[in-house]
Amino acid sequence: MSDESHEGVHRHPAPTGFIRKYIFSLDHKVIGIQYIILALAAVLVGMTMSLLMRLKLSWPDKGWSILATLFPAGAPGGVMNPEFYLSLVTMHGTIMVFFVLTTAPQGGFGNYFLPIQIGAEDMAFPVLNMMSFWITLIGFVVILAAIFFSGAESTVGPIGGWTGYAPLSALGAIAGPGQGMGMNLWIISIAIFCVGSLLGALNFITTLLNMRTKGMSLMRMPLTCWAWFTTAVLALLSFPVLLGGGILLLLDRIAGTSFFIPGGLYVSGILSGTNPNFPLHTGGSPILWQHLFWFFGHPEVYIAILPGMGATSHILATFARKPVFGYRAMVFAIFAIGLLGFFVWGHHMFISGMSPYSAIAFSVLTLSIGVPSAVKTFNWLGTLWGARIRFTTPMLFAIGFVSLFVAGGITGLILGQTSLDLAMHDTYIVTAHFHLVMGVASIFGMFAAIYFWFPKMSGRHMSESLGKFHFWITFIGVYSIFVPMHVMGLVGMPRRFSQFTEYGFLTKLHPLVLFVSIAAILTISVQFVFYFNLIWSLFKGKKASDNPWEATTLEWSTSTPPPHDNFAGVLPTVYHGPYEFAVPGAPNDFIMQTDAGAEVASGNGHNGHKH
């Protein structure tokens, strides 16, 4: 890695026109912000859908006049019908997983900060980078279109959950509401999203491996970069499988193939092959779809959370005023999670009808993945041990991440066991588990990231008092929403029920369902404080200096906001590991990576670089 080779080669002059500067921009920083705006828009849609779902679950027969106006077929008289609810389930999951949890952490913050943190002027392939965003945006437009063109007007999209299990998703309109054009659009949207993510992943990997500045050895990279890199590798290896699976599913629907549809099906009163609406199918395997989906789907949950882990490590060290505890162990843990993440997909399928022997193998591997996850938690606690914590809003959210990651992750020890899955599978404890760990913890990582990096990106601080208010209510709120869902699962409450009125054994859970809905309504309302803070601070926030948090990594060594080529033509040279805080004898309690004069003791983060 020599600087001469990429100085000049990758430099491109700052564009002047509005369109090239802000719309079809090649600048990784603008593209990063575009991804973040996309995620901020998508999360509003996904969150609104979850609100509607809570309304339906707690007040199944109540009419909401606004819904009667907006969705006369889906909510006749304002009362949501079952298919309307199920389409909300599907769209909420799909939008949140793909367009929020996969875009903001990686495409958003990764795009903006990975090149700066390794001392590069841009991504390796700026045009590819621009394309990956615009392709992802098209994917989002298509998924929104599914709301309006779902065939049956009584839904707001397809019905299948975010996993779209075949053959329900493969049969077409004959299988009931939500299986028409909306399902085609759902598949097309995801396929488009896969392409966008693949382009992004190639770019991240190449940039990180080839474009690190002088002195930026791998073991001097911030943990955020390790997380983004591993995430990109996971995306590169898992999205093609989903893309392939999605194409096969679409062919089953529109071209009469039978990849996932077995012979002899009798659906809605019609036998396969006896009616033009239901052509002859034979020889397909519904379980094949589950293998393809989860081969992608399980790495996907790590794609969602690894960047949050990286941001948390980065922010914890900065405001603990201490080096990251066990930097090397953290890097190995990220790798171990990434690697094991490819060998555990079968734990979603214990009771799917696949071999019970392979279930045992998947189960043992699944609990093994708890080990690197625990190692990360121990090291976060180690980082806080003996710290001098500054309780800024980003720090609060990073601490919240650790708390939520433990709370959500640890129940994986229950769900990963084949025997216990006989009782737990597809109940609310699963909903509780993955919402806490891949949903809420990841989002806390992103909240931490946005409060932390907003000053660098915009030149202004977000309001600390609004930010703290946002933190307290959200932190208490998410626990209030998701802890009760665990015990609902123990009672046996199944997921994806549009109401809980039909079963005697669910009656005693009604007060808890109501409590969760009230907690959800409060928590959702507080998110508007965050949106307000974001927009208000953009114009009225306190001006930020170049290094307002007294941090150490390269993004804080350049001006605020960074110039078009990140370092104003002079690439930085790196002399230290990423988290040199509290160095004894140093004039300040932090030593920047670019600080040539400072002497620090050798430790983790310096390995391989004797000086």
Binding site: P82, P167, L168, L171, G178, P262, G263, G264, L265, Y266, S268, G269, S285, P286, V324, F325, G326, Y327, I351, S352, G353, P356, Y357, I360, S363, L367, S368, G370, V371, T377, F378, G382, I389, F391, I399, S403, V406, A407, I410, Q417, T418, S419, L420, D421, L422, T427, P484, H486, V487, L490, S498, Q499, E502, Y503, K508, F581, A582, P584, G603, G605
Partner: protein, 282 residues
């Protein structure tokens, strides 16, 4: 700020643990032979989970309580990059605990899924379809009559496509509720006509998907007479939330008598039995 956060974390931890310990919302009493072993494994696991959860949260609270920035000049945090010894210790300990749990967690599974159906089991064919359960009983001859998808006619109430011309089908019965014997192994042959469904009876501690194109054989032994709610646990379409049925666990003589009845009488008797045994929900 640090102290407030610590207190909030501790309160959340206490309330979360109480939610489980109080057992106000908990499993229904188990009614299967494998249930007690599964419940024991759950208690061991929840103990490990609960202790780890509480320890991590209390520790996290302790750190933010204790290690605040005092703002004093020259007061710095501990300068350490970690400890290889600690990394090894906690990696080994968690690996031993987690993998031991994983291995212990296979025993109930193995007893149900790796072993063949015990001889002398009572067999029922389960044929799920969108929003309805169909149960096919072999009758006195203990042989299931042939079925064929071409003969399915929901309109004519031949939900499973039973071939009436097959002599073995003569004494068969098909109903929409499940009746099984108490304390005797039961084999279910699970099929689906259309999409994936899942057989779920909470007190039985038992769930299995029904996959179109496959016949999945599973077995269990119910140990308590009564009527229990049967739900579909896999999203199967619009009315998934009310794809409900009942599982009757009957004394042997009552089941034998039922089994010997021809279709029409079988249906009537089933209705009486469903009325006789109240639904057990706790």
């Amino acid at each position: 700020m640090g102290r407030a956060l610590a207190v909030i974390i501790w309160i959340i931890t206490t309330l979360s643990v109480l939610m489980f310990v109080s057992k106000k919302w908990w499993f229904p009493a188990t009614i299967s032979e494998h249930g007690p072993a599964l419940d024991r494994q759950f208690m061991i696991t929840i103990l490990v989970v609960g202790v780890s959860f509480a320890a991590a949260q209390i520790g996290l609270g302790w750190m933010v309580w204790k290690y605040r920035d005092t703002g004093k000049a020259g007061d710095r945090g501990l300068y350490t990059h970690g400890s290889n010894r600690l990394e090894v210790v906690w990696t080994v300990i968690t690996a031993v605990v987690f993998i031991s749990l994983a291995i212990m967690g296979q025993s109930v599974w193995a007893s149900l899924r790796l072993h063949d159906v015990p001889p002398g089991s009572y067999s029922v064919e389960v044929v799920a379809q969108q929003f309805q359960w169909n149960f096919h009983y072999a009758g006195k001859d203990n042989v299931f009559g042939k079925t064929d998808p071409k003969l399915i006619d929901d309109g004519a109430i031949n939900f499973i496509g039973l071939d009436e011309s097959d002599p073995n089908a003569k004494d068969d019965a098909v109903t929409t509720a499940l009746a099984v014997p108490v304390n005797k192994p039961v084999e279910l042959r699970l099929r689906s006509k259309d999409v994936i469904h899942s057989f779920w009876v909470p007190p039985l501690r038992f769930k299995q998907d029904l996959v179109p194109g496959m016949e999945i054989k599973v077995h269990f032994t119910a140990t308590k007479v009564g009527q229990y709610e049967l739900a579909c646990a896999e999203l199967c379409g619009q009315l998934h939330f009310k794809m409900r049925s009942s599982m009757l666990v009957l004394p042997d003589d009552e089941l034998e008598a039922l089994k010997a009845m021809p279709q029409a009488q079988f249906q009537e008797r089933m209705k009486e039995l469903l009325a006789k045994y109240p639904i057990v929900i706790d």
